[in-house]
C-alpha cells in the first residue's frame, strides 16, 4: 500500500500529520507530503485509512499495489 497527497487539493489542515506523523510530513508552509516514497508498512495501514477519511479536502489517496 502507498499513499499520495495531491498538493493542488491539500490546504494544510494537518489532520493527516496529527493522525499519522509516521506517514506524513509538513513543509514550512504547513502543507502535507507523504514521507519517503509513500510506502505504508502493514502495521500503519489502519492509520493511513484514517488519515484519508479525515482529510477535509479529499487530498489523500491510497494506491493498493498488487
Amino acid at each position: 500500500m502507498r499513499i499520495t497527497v495531491d498538493s493542488e487539493r491539500c490546504q494544510g489542515h494537518n489532520r493527516c500529520y496529527a493522525i499519522a506523523p509516521e506517514l506524513f510530513d509538513v513543509d514550512d508552509l504547513g502543507y502535507a507530503t507523504a514521507t519517503g516514497d509513500g510506502a505504508v508498512p502493514d502495521d500503519l495501514a489502519d492509520k493511513a485509512r484514517l488519515a484519508v477519511a479525515n482529510c477535509p479536502e479529499h487530498a489523500i489517496a491510497i494506491v493498493e499495489e498488487a
Binding site: G12, Y17, A18, I19, V26, L29, G30, N54, P56
Partner: protein, 409 residues
C-alpha cells in the same frame, strides 16, 4: 467577528425559507433545528434583509461555494446592513488580507503568514499554553463556582497571541479592552469602525510595539511580520499593524468559543466527561468532534456576478452566508450528525472552512483547545453546570457560550 447582543428592534422571523435572519433571537438560542428543517424543505433559503442574502445549509452547497472563487468573492465576509461600496474594499486585496482577498493576490498574502502558523512552530508554544492554563486555574482555586468562559476560555487565546507577538504579558489586560472594543463594534458600519480606530488607542499601542521591534528585532511574530516580504518588498508597518488586528479579531473569540463550548458539553454530559478522564487517548477524536458539533464560525461571501446556483437566481452583490456549523450537522455527510460521539473516527468536519481560505490559525486553535481541555480535566475531573439559566451565547457569525458558571466542588 461578532459577539453582539441580538438586536431587539428587528421583526422576529416567522418564515426561515424566505425571511431568515441569523441575528434573530431564535437562531441565537438554537440554530440547529432551523437548519434541519431548511435542509429538507429548501436547501438554499433567501431573505430580503441585509439588502438580499442567501443561506445554503447542506454540506454539498457550502463545500461548492467555498471552492468557487470565481462566482463568489471574499471582499466582505461579515453580513451586515451596510453593503461595501466599490471604493472601500478594493478586490482582490480587501480590507484585511488574506481573509478578504481573492485569487490571485490571496495566495501571496496567505503564504506570507503560513510559516508562523505551521504545526511544528505552534508546538513550540505548547508548554507556555499549559503553564498559562494552570495559572488561570490557580487564580480561581479557592472558588466553588468558576466561570469556564470568563475565568478561563477567553484568556487563553488572548494571552497566547500576546506571547506570540512578543508583547509583555502584563499588557494582556489592555488587550482585553481592545478586543472588546473591536468585537462590540461589529454592528457598526465598516467605515465608522475604521474611523474610530483611526488614530485610536489600539493603533497607537501597536505602532509603539512595532517601533520597538524595528529598533531592536526579536525572535517573535512581530519581527517575523516586519521581515516578511510581499512582491520583493518588506511589508509597510501599517500593513503589519493591520495583520495584527486581523489575527486578534480572527483568533480570539473563535478559539474562546470552541474551548467554552467543549467545557460546556463536558459540564452537562457526565458520561463523556468520565470517559475522557478515564481514557485520555480519546482526546484527539473528542477535540475534532467538539469542533464539528459546536463549530463556532460562520463566514460569508458576496456573489461576484449573476448566475444560477441550485436553481436560485444569485445576483451580483447578494450576500451568501456560509454556515460551516450547518455543514457539520448535515446527516448526508455525518451519520448521527446531531449526536456527539467523542470517538468518532471519520470526521471530515469543516469547522475551519474549506478550500483556499482554510483557517490559517487552525494548528494554533487546535493546540489551545486540546491543552485547555486536558488541563481543566486534570484539575477538575468532576464538575457540573451550576445554573443553566445563566449560560449566554454570542450572536452574529461567531457562536459560543459567553457565560458558563460551573460548580467544581
Amino acid at each position: 467577528m461578532s459577539t453582539t447582543e441580538p438586536r431587539s428592534d428587528k421583526r422576529p422571523v416567522t418564515d426561515w425559507e424566505t425571511d431568515w435572519d441569523h441575528t434573530d433571537p431564535a437562531w441565537v438560542a438554537n440554530p440547529y433545528p432551523i437548519w434541519e428543517s431548511l435542509r429538507s424543505a429548501c436547501p438554499v433559503a433567501h431573505t430580503e434583509r441585509f439588502g438580499g442574502a442567501w443561506l445554503p445549509v447542506t454540506h454539498d452547497a457550502i463545500h461548492a461555494i467555498s471552492y468557487d472563487t470565481e462566482h463568489f468573492t471574499s471582499r466582505s465576509v461579515v453580513v451586515s446592513e451596510l453593503r461595501p461600496g466599490d471604493n472601500d474594499l478594493p478586490a482582490p486585496i480587501g480590507i484585511a488580507p488574506p481573509i478578504t482577498s481573492d485569487p490571485p493576490f490571496h495566495a501571496d498574502a496567505r503564504r506570507l503568514l503560513l510559516p508562523a502558523f505551521g504545526p511544528k512552530v505552534i508546538a513550540g508554544y505548547e508548554s507556555f499554553t499549559r503553564d498559562l492554563c494552570r495559572e488561570l486555574l490557580d487564580a480561581v482555586a479557592d472558588r466553588d463556582i468558576v466561570d469556564a468562559a470568563v475565568d478561563y476560555a477567553q484568556d487563553i487565546p488572548l494571552r497566547v497571541i500576546v506571547k506570540m507577538l512578543g508583547f509583555p504579558q502584563s499588557d494582556a489586560e489592555v488587550f482585553r479592552r481592545f478586543i472588546h472594543m473591536i468585537l462590540e463594534a461589529v454592528d457598526v458600519p465598516a467605515e465608522e469602525r475604521m474611523n474610530e480606530r483611526e488614530g485610536g488607542e489600539l493603533d497607537a499601542y501597536l505602532d509603539a510595539r512595532i517601533a520597538e521591534h524595528l529598533a531592536e528585532p526579536r525572535d517573535d511574530l512581530t519581527s517575523f511580520l516586519l521581515q516578511a516580504e510581499l512582491g520583493g518588498e518588506k511589508l509597510h508597518p501599517d500593513h503589519v499593524r493591520g495583520t495584527m488586528v486581523l489575527l486578534l479579531v480572527a483568533g480570539i473569540d473563535t478559539t474562546w468559543s470552541a474551548i467554552g463550548a467543549s467545557l460546556l458539553h463536558l459540564a452537562t454530559h457526565a458520561d463523556d466527561r468520565r470517559r475522557l478522564v478515564d481514557d485520555p487517548s480519546l482526546l484527539d477524536t473528542a477535540v475534532e468532534e467538539f469542533l464539528r458539533v459546536y463549530a463556532p464560525v460562520t463566514m460569508a461571501r458576496m456573489v461576484a456576478h449573476d448566475f444560477e446556483f441550485e436553481g436560485c437566481p444569485f445576483k451580483a452583490g447578494d450576500w451568501v452566508l456560509l454556515p460551516f456549523p450547518a455543514a457539520n450537522r448535515d446527516p448526508a455527510m455525518f451519520p448521527e450528525a446531531d449526536k456527539v460521539l467523542i470517538d468518532r473516527a471519520e470526521n471530515r468536519h469543516a469547522a475551519f472552512g474549506l478550500g483556499i481560505h482554510r483557517c490559517l490559525g487552525s494548528n494554533l486553535a487546535r493546540m489551545e483547545l486540546r491543552i485547555a481541555i486536558e488541563e481543566w480535566l486534570a484539575r477538575y475531573p468532576d464538575f457540573e453546570l451550576d445554573d443553566p439559566s445563566r449560560v449566554t451565547f454570542s450572536a452574529g457569525q461567531v457562536r459560543g457560550p459567553r457565560r458558563i458558571p460551573v460548580r467544581v466542588r
